[in-house]
Symmetry: C2
Subunit: 332 residues, 2 copies
């Protein structure tokens, strides 16, 4: 049976929400869930919930890395943190996949230290898949690595394409480079060099993708450095939240729009969910020798359950093997 | 009378839309508008429109820099382009302000070459003001300079604060640094160094602002490098457009939400306008020795009229004098 380790201490409302999500998953999914964290805390919340006792186990981890703790230092110092223990379980093959809604930097750090990157890959990247007006897209990297080189960007392209091909079943996915203009001459030195690498790589490269085309779906995989990708992701969230608040203010100003608002409320909710990547099972950390899913810090119990569900599918694909094969096929 | 030069050839639907916007402004505003561009083309569209003949003049400029032309090369080669001629008019004091919805890179280049930057300022920055859930904010730079140093970022802070103080009339505006976390230890080397500069500068510095707080209005001025700022701005536009399309699709699926959609349509439009900075009179190019407003390439006639209106207010403030004074007051 598939074994999925879940960081019970990670996320804004951990461990309660994580335990609830795991309990929910245990009723619906055919997998073994191992909740990693402070045993007593986890038990307290498990006892308040219905769950399938055969499918949930606890792995005690007595330390916790907080959401704001400095990543590298925490991982080195807190060897018994839920994040360190969860990643260690992957290394020892005690779990097939690790899910954390906790401190992203710490998860990336622990993975890089304990699991190492795949042969040929220098830096891991976090890829977030979201719907666009046409096809689903992945933005990679959204914050695993903020000192990217052109080669790192090229590798993100290889990993993102592999994810579309082997996990999402897209036969011929495309990759583009996030830039401030579509012309080849645009952008920073990093982007120009990466553009050159992509062009001669033999990948299905569509060239530069402007930010205004991100939600149009101009490429399946949109490659960028982690700082930019993180800003892109978070500003979209911020704007989505602000605009529903703006909308509420506008709508409640007069009666007819108010009635309109009530009638169209389910549609607003549907939109918010569309861009809420936690609803889609979290974001894979690609490029490390092990399977990790990063869930949103604000994940709900449902989002955790969805991440576990996505995890059960993810483990059936030998993505890392494919990434290494595809890496061997490109021209550098 | 205030003299405003307007690039008649700049924008996706130029010269028609620009001429229409200028004609509209000539009926409403007390200023002299000089349309810069191909005289015959401009006249053709002017003849089709009602306008105040005393307030519109034409300055012939026989070349045009296209939206996609490489900026630096075009400015050097096309000395008779509407952009080069318009900026030259500022230099010769033939106009108090220049507005262009054309090739932004070319405007920045022409300004840097012909007008030079203000004493003490190394690079210009484009600042975009938009509403948030609380106070208005400006993101600077959104693409004038993609090779920013920590000092450039500090100068953006000075210029943005001056804009809030002297143009928008905010007595004690705040400035923050766009980053991927609020902790001081987060971010790239560039951001960390800039953080240090801001902290000891004596400005009203609120520290790092995360992208998720941009639309919350955590700071009046949000400083970032041009590449990141451009992505931030454009991805918001992209998402806003996509989400209204998503919303339309959701809403038309069933009858009740459909009725809701019709009733709440005015509210949607109000939101779209909120983030459409062209509605607010364009974005000032700060740091050059002359007044320039960058309008959105997709500007409507109304947006052009609004930019001209904003321009008539902008010229009454001696912003550049204040920027240089404030620059002298900070600790470096």
């Amino acid at each position: 049976m598939i074994k999925i380790a879940v960081d019970a201490m990670g996320g804004d409302r951990a461990p309660r929400v994580v335990v609830e999500g795991a309990a929910w998953a245990s009723d619906e999914l055919d997998c073994q869930i191992i909740l990693v964290g402070k045993e007593r805390n986890i038990k307290k919340f498990l006892d308040k919930t219905d769950y399938n006792k055969d499918r949930i186990a606890i792995k005690n981890a007595i330390e916790t890395i907080k959401m704001d703790d400095p990543a590298a230092i925490s991982v080195r110092r807190k060897k018994n943190s839920s994040i360190a223990v969860g990643v260690e379980m992957l290394k020892k093959k005690e779990a097939d996949l690790f899910i954390s809604a906790g401190n992203t930097g710490a998860v990336v750090c622990a993975a890089a230290l304990k699991l190492r990157t795949l042969a040929g890959i220098e830096r891991p990247g976090i890829g977030v898949v979201f719907p666009t007006l046409t096809k689903p897209s992945m933005v990679i990297d959204v914050g695993a690595n903020i000192d990217a080189t052109p080669l790192h960007l090229l590798h993100y392209g290889v990993m993102g394409l592999a994810y579309f091909k082997y996990v999402l079943g897209n036969e011929n996915p495309s990759v583009g480079l996030l830039n401030i203009g579509h012309e080849e001459s645009k952008g920073t030195g990093l982007i120009k060099e990466a553009h050159h690498l992509f062009e001669r790589s033999g990948m299905n490269f569509v060239g530069n993708v402007e930010a205004r085309d991100v939600y149009v779906g101009k490429a399946n995989v949109v490659v960028c450095e982690g700082f930019v990708g993180n800003i892109l992701l978070k500003v979209t969230e911020s704007f989505a939240e602000a605009s529903s608040e703006f909308l509420k203010r506008e709508l409640t100003r007069r009666l007819l729009p108010k009635i309109g608002a009530i009638l169209s409320l389910p549609a607003y909710r549907a939109i918010r969910k569309k861009i809420d990547y936690s609803e889609y099972g979290g974001a894979p950390l690609l490029g490390v020798d092990g399977r990790i899913i990063i869930a949103h810090g604000a994940s709900s119990a449902k989002a955790i359950k969805n991440a576990i569900k996505a995890g059960t599918e993810y483990v059936t694909h030998k993505l890392n093997k494919h990434i290494m094969e595809d890496l061997g096929k490109i021209t550098i």
